[in-house]
């Protein structure tokens, strides 16, 4: 299977701190990859570089064959990489439905101009309804996003990034700030939705149970480097990983 996303020799420093040191990854289409590592290990930095929020100091990122290293987040989203946020980024005064319609509408409107990348189909309204069903948000339809409980905000945030009909979805700690019993519910919903849309997924996660249950492949970050890469079973057993990632950090939330 060919790589849909590929990072080659990425470097990024914040002053003295090295957030990425020679990151090389190839992600194959329709795979689900978990990114683990203690805080400041470079997971989110990696996400931010892929989505163009940060520019790498060196190295290049390729999506579906073309280089996207120096594109703006908007352009990258248009090409078909969308992300969700650790702290949900919603339109708080708009209703849940309107949030999704805005997201879907952007694609629908844009489809006329750039058919490449995101495959836009269906009217925004239809897509929004589809998402409401798929994420079980129908009950909140007309409620302003600002008034939703955290778990629902997380789901809406992810639903919006999926409403853009991406080919790659990046989830930044999808279950952080959510009570333990909600977590699996959220992840199941997301997994189902993702399967339905055939999206390649990368997600940052601290909860190793979640990782081992949903990821087909795990990348362990430490000091801006990838110290382990492989199937969950093997990676989570890896000595360095146990020492640097799980050892101190297992089940640590913030």
């Amino acid at each position: 299977m060919s790589a849909i996303l590929e990072a080659r020799g990425l470097f990024k420093n914040f002053g003295a701190v090295s957030a990425a040191a020679d990151i090389n990854v190839a992600v194959s289409a329709d795979s689900v990859t978990g990114l683990i590592g203690s805080n400041g290990a470079g997971k989110t930095t990696f996400l931010n570089m892929v989505t163009g929020y940060l520019k790498p100091g060196a190295g290049s990122i390729h999506f579906d064959g073309h280089e996207i290293t120096h594109l703006t987040p908007r352009r990258i989203t248009q090409l078909g990489i969308s992300r969700s946020f650790q702290v949900p980024q919603l339109f708080d005064t708009l209703s849940v439905a309107a949030n999704l319609q805005a997201a879907a509408g952007i694609v629908a409107a844009a489809a006329k101009r750039w058919a490449r990348g995101a495959i836009a189909h269906g009217r925004a309204g239809a897509v929004a309804d589809e998402m409401l069903q798929r994420f079980g948000l129908a009950a909140y339809r007309n409620q302003p996003a600002g008034t939703l409980p955290e778990g629902v905000r997380k789901l809406l945030d992810i639903a919006m990034s999926l409403a853009a009909k991406p080919r790659i979805l990046l989830l930044d700690e999808p279950t952080s700030g959510v009570s333990a019993d909600e977590k699996f519910g959220i992840m199941d919903t997301v997994a189902a939705a993702v399967r339905a849309q055939q999206v390649t997924v990368l997600f940052v996660e601290h909860d190793m149970d979640i990782v081992s249950r949903y990821a087909q492949r795990v990348l362990a970050f430490y000091d801006g480097r990838i110290i382990a890469d492989g199937a969950p079973a093997t990676v989570l057993k890896d000595g360095e990983v146990r020492k640097y990632v799980i050892g101190e950090d297992l089940h640590v939330k913030h």
């Binding site: 989110t44 931010n48 929020y53 946020f85 650790q86 702290v87 980024q89 930044d172």
Partner: protein, 298 residues
């Protein structure tokens, strides 16, 4: 050459006047996120009161130099009366509202004070030149300047240094900076934000009044004098970067020098020199010269 010297001297005199106004404005904005249009009327209030008090003092035949005390007194009075009155009586009911709404509240206050001043002092202009004439003149090159201008410059410098010291060296000042940085967190840390607001607004009001008081002797205190000042000090504050004291100082200096250069070399553009500077600075630096760093959002 002496011409250039004149440009600088005139510029600095004008800048000092601007700075006294801008300092209060930027302080209030920094802490309370209120762009206070009423600042102009408080300036006028300071001018009217000092004109009255100095007038009485002189009429009373007291020691002429006492008139300076009158200037200080009136600024103090306006500050401690109007500051708390407006903050406690009105603004406090508005906190949490949109910045624009707060701005309009101060605009309403401005309208009300304009008429209030008219009702108290009438529409005839007042003037009290004694403090201005008293110290005589000094000459630079072949130009003579009233020594009073040095008082103006001095007031500005002292006010600036005092504020800077109070902000960075005193406990209250540090609390203030904390609130400027993030009022939510400060609340969480147990800082009495309400009190900080009261103090800030009172100091800001006092600065406006000081501006009025030191200006009163140099001109005719007349209706509508606050209007012209306010947009000018807005420009200075925005140029310098909202909430930044150093920015206000630099902004005042730039505006002052540009204006006096325009007057000397190209009088016809004096009218919009200030706004052109403001536009150019904002185009070059969208948030003004000195701006606080922004936190990463994701």
């Amino acid at each position: 050459m002496s011409d250039l010297l004149a440009v600088v001297v005139d510029g600095i005199i004008y800048s000092s006047w601007l700075f006294i106004m801008a300092a209060g404005l930027t302080l209030i904005y920094g802490v309370m996120k209120i762009l206070n249009i009423a600042h102009g009327s408080l300036y006028a209030l300071g001018a009217y009161l000092s004109a009255t008090l100095v007038g009485l003092w002189v009429a009373g035949g007291h020691a002429p130099y006492g008139s300076y005390a009158m200037l200080a007194l009136s600024a103090l009075l306006v500050g401690v009366v109007m500051g708390p009155l407006l903050e406690r009586g009105l603004l406090r009911l508005m906190y949490g509202r949109d910045e624009v709404v707060l701005l309009l509240v101060t605009y309403a206050v401005f309208l009300i004070l304009e008429d209030a001043i008219k009702l108290v002092w009438g529409v005839d202009s007042l003037y009290v030149a004694q403090p201005y004439d008293l110290p005589g003149n000094f000459t630079i090159g072949d130009l003579s300047y009233p020594v009073y201008n040095l008082v103006l410059i001095g007031t500005a410098v002292v006010a600036g240094l005092a504020l800077a010291w109070a902000l960075n060296r005193t406990h209250h000042g540090k609390m203030l900076l904390a609130v400027i940085h993030d009022s939510e967190v400060s609340r969480a840390l147990g800082i009495n934000v309400g009190r900080v607001y009261l103090v800030t607004f009172t100091i800001g009001t006092m600065l406006a009044a000081v501006g009025g008081a030191v200006t009163a002797p140099t001109l005719a205190v007349s209706a509508g004098m606050g209007v012209e000042v306010i947009v000018l000090s807005f420009a200075v504050v925005v140029i310098g970067g909202l909430g930044s004291l150093g920015g206000a100082a630099l902004g005042a200096l730039i505006v002052g020098l540009v204006r006096s250069a325009a007057v000397h070399y190209w009088p016809t553009v004096e009218l919009f020199s200030v706004y052109s500077v403001m536009a150019m600075v904002l185009i070059a630096r969208p948030k003004g010269l000195f701006t606080p760093p922004e936190a990463r959002r994701i």
